[in-house]
């Protein structure tokens, strides 16, 4: 038997947690929390404007500006999307990936960032397998850093494109967003929450617009402390019950590469958490189905659901380019106005 802790009797003043110095550059997008609601409204408006603009005119917005894509993880979707977005605005892009550069020779992230800056890079889009890497890179370079996914932490542009997709379906015609825009909307995020940066960014973003986020998954992939991440987040372990309450269902992939020795019975997982046509019809026949990709068909969703009428998965991909154009434009526009660096 372990003895219990003695209760603390005194109320004592203790050292405060210092204010965060981030972001150093106002063009950075490290976390969804870097955007105010006004900033978010502007960004969504710019995404629409840029998407609708004549490509020949759009091409001049960032003509010859230098943007580096620094990718420490392989990624087709996000990398291509960012690259198309930056090129769509006329920027020169350079891809630096861990498979074909000095990174594999052991150069530190800080040194790589300083090298890119010395080469004239004006903004860096970073995908990294370690949580927090974009913060390190921004502190080291003071350049605008766009977080394209860091470890198990955040993937802010994914959450923004998810939001754009949700708004298009549930709040068509919305101009500016505010703290009540998604009031009454419940978004279920289902599956491997623990290892998901997409989940974390959405958990921080959607409640700020009034949405309720319902997390659903087994204990191994969804620890209780997830509900303490911020306001408007609750846990519902029963998938059918979660579906019944939700207007949006965001399915996540099992991140086998991050399980790190965790034993998971996949058959059991499928039985409890796979989104099938039957389940969808029974509990959420009107709900919008999202998935950040890549999809493992037959694991978290059936092919029928992925390709079915409630799925907005390919629309998410299209929205990604528009959102990322706005994010890249913001990164370099801020620099012109003189960032906080």
């Amino acid at each position: 038997m372990s003895p219990t802790a003695t209760p603390v009797r005194r109320q004592l003043a203790t050292p405060p947690v210092p204010a965060s110095p981030f972001p150093y550059n106002s063009g950075s997008l490290l976390s969804v929390l870097d955007l105010s609601l006004d900033g978010l409204s502007q960004l969504l408006a710019r995404a629409t404007a840029l998407e609708n603009q004549d490509p020949l005119l759009r091409d001049r917005i960032l003509a010859k500006r230098r943007v580096a894509l620094l990718f420490y993880e392989s990624s087709t979707r996000t990398r291509t999307s960012f690259e198309l977005a930056a090129k769509g605005l006329g920027a020169d892009t350079t891809l630096v990936s861990s498979l074909s550069s000095s990174i594999e020779k052991g150069e530190s992230l800080k040194d790589t960032g300083l090298t890119l800056r010395a080469l004239g890079t004006e903004a860096i889009i970073l995908r990294h397998n370690s949580s927090g890497a974009p913060w390190l890179l921004e502190e080291s370079t003071h350049l605008p850093v766009l977080n394209a996914g860091d470890g198990m932490h955040e993937h802010p542009t994914q959450a923004l494109l998810d939001l754009r997709t949700i708004l298009a379906h549930l709040r068509a015609g919305t101009g500016e967003v505010n703290a009540g825009t998604l009031a009454g909307v419940t978004v279920a995020i289902v599956g491997d929450i623990l290892h998901s940066r997409v989940a974390r960014s959405n958990m921080l973003l959607l409640p700020r617009l009034g949405a309720r986020v319902l997390l659903c998954g087994p204990k191994e992939l969804l620890p209780e402390q997830a509900a303490q991440m911020g306001p408007g987040i609750a846990i519902e372990r029963d998938f059918d019950a979660a579906l019944g309450q939700s207007q949006v269902i965001m399915m996540l992939r099992i991140q086998a590469e991050r399980l790190a020795g965790l034993q998971l019975d996949l058959e059991d997982y499928k039985a409890n958490y796979q989104l099938t046509g039957q389940r969808l019809a029974a509990h959420a026949p009107q709900a919008l189905v999202l998935h950040p990709g890549p999809i493992i068909r037959g694991m978290e969703v059936t092919a029928g659901v992925a390709d079915g009428p409630q799925s907005a998965i390919l629309e998410q991909v299209r929205n990604g380019v528009a959102i990322r154009m706005a994010v890249v434009e913001r990164a370099l526009a801020a620099d012109r106005q003189g960032g906080r660096a």
């Binding site: 802790a5 005194r10 004592l12 050292p15 927090g132 390190l136 860091d150 402390q225």
Partner: protein, 436 residues
């Protein structure tokens, strides 16, 4: 030989129960006389006497840090015995106990002796703590009698725990026989793999794998059971850098049961929480990690009610480039020697009202007793002339760039400190002075 007179100060020597105005004469590395103010006979023809004017200052036994990493042999780019002890002197410390996780590990009498050779350039006394097991691998117990005669004051595999019950039992038995304490780094590494901060809401939010508090407390509880089963009053278990409320509770209970179980707490564990990691500040990464606010509050409570036996810094220097990396890849540890007194006075004494004598006792008399250091941790006549002289009222800001350590990895850069060290005297010699 030159003598040193310290005049006009307030002598605070908790071990001797003294807190009053006194003049002190140090001669031949010892405390020669303690007299009422103005009563020292400075012209008795016994050679030169240098006088320090301690008016308005506290004169106390030199501080003793029972848990530091001086990085020599083998990691001189992080710290050397010379730079580490210079930092110690600047912080008011006159003795430090150096952990054995060097390269090679200090598991042999030759290394223990090498660390104490004058060529190392130590400015204050270094007491090596020898590895408990060969190479600190947790398998084969070292020859403690030989290590003790080479100068080791305790055994530990710090940085790693001794996981196997049988090896820990054997360690406790052999150390008891040799008259040495066993200092355990309590961490069940089977539960902390891949973890880089405390397991809890902050780790989840930051997407970092967590180290559960049970990884500490379960080892402490296991070790206490082993001590209890030995029924040997000589057996002494000392828990290093205690960080969790449950581990403290276990120590508290063990003491009630009459066992010789002691513990230390580091300033960062009684001041900071997991929230101080901020956005991946690697200067807030150490092992054990910063814990919850409830754990931090339990550290304060245990310091105030006397369950904690010593404040130890776990001074762990790392080169700048080693800390300027992704959080999960950064090495564990922060420096602590130059901030311990200033933080203890600012928070424990000024804010939380611990009497000055008790703060100083946790930083000198008590660690001296735990390590069995003779004639240290007190300024009674005849004891070793290790003295710290500080201005208790001076507020100052710590600037890591001015540190005497080779490394700068501290979360306390820019923090307000209370109490400025004016002189540090090691065995009768002035090794640090600041009249600024």
């Amino acid at each position: 030989m030159t003598a040193l007179a310290i005049c006009g100060g307030r002598l605070v020597d908790p071990a001797a129960g003294v807190d009053t105005a006194k003049d002190i004469l140090l001669r031949d590395g010892r405390v020669a006389e303690i007299v009422s103010p103005g009563k020292l006979k400075l012209n008795n023809g016994a050679g030169d006497i240098e006088t320090l004017d301690a008016a308005g200052l506290i004169v106390a036994p030199g501080l003793i840090d029972m848990h530091v990493h001086l990085r020599e042999p083998g990691q001189g780019y992080k710290e050397t015995i010379a730079t580490g002890t210079a930092a110690a002197a600047a912080g008011g410390f006159t003795a430090v106990a150096a952990m054995p996780n060097t390269t090679p590990v200090n598991d042999a009498p030759e290394i223990t002796r090498w660390m104490q050779e004058p060529e190392r350039g130590a400015v204050v006394r270094v007491f090596p703590i020898a590895a408990a097991t060969r190479g600190s691998k947790g398998e084969a117990v070292n020859d403690y009698a030989a290590l003790k005669s080479a100068g080791a004051v305790a055994v530990s595999d710090d940085g790693k725990p001794i996981l196997k019950d049988s090896v820990m039992r054997e360690t406790l038995v052999a150390a008891a026989r040799a008259g040495l304490s066993v200092i355990q780094h309590a961490e069940d590494t089977r539960m902390t793999q891949g973890g880089s901060m405390n397991l809890g809401p902050a780790a989840f939010r930051l997407g970092l794998r967590g180290m559960p508090p049970e990884a500490e407390s379960q080892i402490v509880e296991r070790d206490i059971r082993l001590v209890a089963d030995l029924h040997d009053p000589r057996a002494h278990l000392h828990v290093a850098h205690t960080s969790t409320a449950t581990a403290l509770a276990a120590v508290r209970q063990a003491r009630r049961n009459g066992l010789r179980v002691t513990c230390e707490v580091a300033p960062h564990h009684f001041l900071l929480t997991e929230e101080h990691v901020g956005f991946y500040n690697t200067h807030a990464k150490m092992c054990p990690p910063l814990r919850s606010a409830a754990d931090r509050d339990a550290m304060i409570e245990a310091l105030l009610d006397g369950v904690v036996d010593a404040i130890a810094t776990d001074h762990a220097p790392h080169a700048t480039h080693e800390k300027e990396v992704e959080f999960e890849n950064a090495p564990n540890g922060i420096t602590g020697l130059e901030t311990a007194l200033g933080l203890a006075l600012r928070w424990l004494h000024k804010e939380w009202k611990m009497p000055l004598g008790r703060v100083l006792s946790l930083l000198s008399a008590q660690p001296a007793a735990l390590l069995g250091l003779k004639a240290r941790g007190t300024l009674a006549v005849g004891s070793i002339a290790d003295v710290v002289i500080f201005d208790p009222d001076a507020e100052w800001t710590f600037d890591a760039r001015q540190s005497k350590s080779k490394s700068r990895n501290t979360p306390f850069d820019g923090w307000t400190m209370q109490g400025k060290v004016r002189w540090t005297v090691s065995e009768g010699r002035i090794v640090y002075s600041d009249r600024g």
